[in-house]
Symmetry: C2
Subunit: 200 residues, 2 copies
Amino acid sequence: MEEQTTEEKIKEAARKVFITKGMTGARMQEIADLAGINKALLHYYYRSKEQLFNAIFEDVLKDMLPGLFGIVNSDLPLEVKVYQLADKYMEFFSKRPEMPLFVLNELQRHPKELIERLHLQKGIDLTHLRNQLEEEYQKGAIRQISVEMFLLNIISLLVFPFAGRTLFQNITQMDDPSYLEFQEQRKTEVPKFVMNALRP
Amino acid sequence: MEEQTTEEKIKEAARKVFITKGMTGARMQEIADLAGINKALLHYYYRSKEQLFNAIFEDVLKDMLPGLFGIVNSDLPLEVKVYQLADKYMEFFSKRPEMPLFVLNELQRHPKELIERLHLQKGIDLTHLRNQLEEEYQKGAIRQISVEMFLLNIISLLVFPFAGRTLFQNITQMDDPSYLEFQEQRKTEVPKFVMNALRP
DNA sequence: ACAAAATTTAACCATTTGGTTAAATATATC
DNA sequence: GATATATTTAACCAAATGGTTAAATTTTGT
């Protein structure tokens, strides 16, 4: 049936608890319970909450970011790239709706330690995308825009709807099924919106 | 000099601590210290941490949302509205950079109690903006777009850069001064981007 | 000056929490 | 079957934390 190692059970449980409760809100006991083991064994695998959290957080980031870099630095035409980014990321976060908020949150609350130690610190090479935007601009295909502006706009449009879901649903009085459908629409609407905005 | 009542000192301190540490991360002792009083007096004013938190959270929301409703439901032309929203909200959050993440976070972590009790539950009437978008579309001034799509796009573009600042700065290796300048640019770039995207 | 309200002091309490320990038991490995 | 590793049990600890209490002191309003 399930060939799940104890460490995997721990990681899965820890991930769930940390992501839903945050580092400060998470309880070691709850993680142990969810993993179906006891606290002693939990500490047998990870000496401290901090250590466990760091392991999980690194996993989460490794899960979340490389895909972004991959598409961004691919040789796809700009428009295809935008559509693929939207599709891939909305698909990804649809299965992990609380992940964005969790990451943003922990990143803002423990900036130094987390960032500097996590392999994250190198950033992503934006040269390729920068050139691509410049070329499209020279061709007259799009208006001028900096990589940073372009990237942040896309990321905002893709990620915020997950992080801000509760707020937005409340403002608009949208129920859950409607919001799911809405998000499904956005997989194509966001790229359309972005490409439209880029027209000269 | 400073005519600050004890309750004001408490609220100011609690606000700071809650916003930077979150409900679970905040400590009553820290709030008392920051307010320049002692724990006994803190409990003399607010019987429990939860009560204090609720008071603060309600304040924060009242601070944050009505302005949005105001502009959205005003009689301004669409384009002016978009520019004003951007300017007002980026100005507002520039002075309270951690507020968005705090609100999103607490809202997601205690949905029922917070939402249902806070006067928030009524939502905002979108009829006016919906009509405005429809009229502009009939005039051929913009392409067709739902209020929800329009609103969420704007909010995403305005709010995410604050909530996701750490992540984005790390991805792009942008330093603090650059990011401030970048945000300043966005006050006009975001409305431009949105209005561009709306062209038929 | 007097009473009421605000504030401090300081000790105290119960609970939660991360973490430890040691012995017992089960499981795998050789 | 012996040995090492994994897991449980259960008791325990120290620190942190939210909260209380009662008495003393200060401030304020009348």
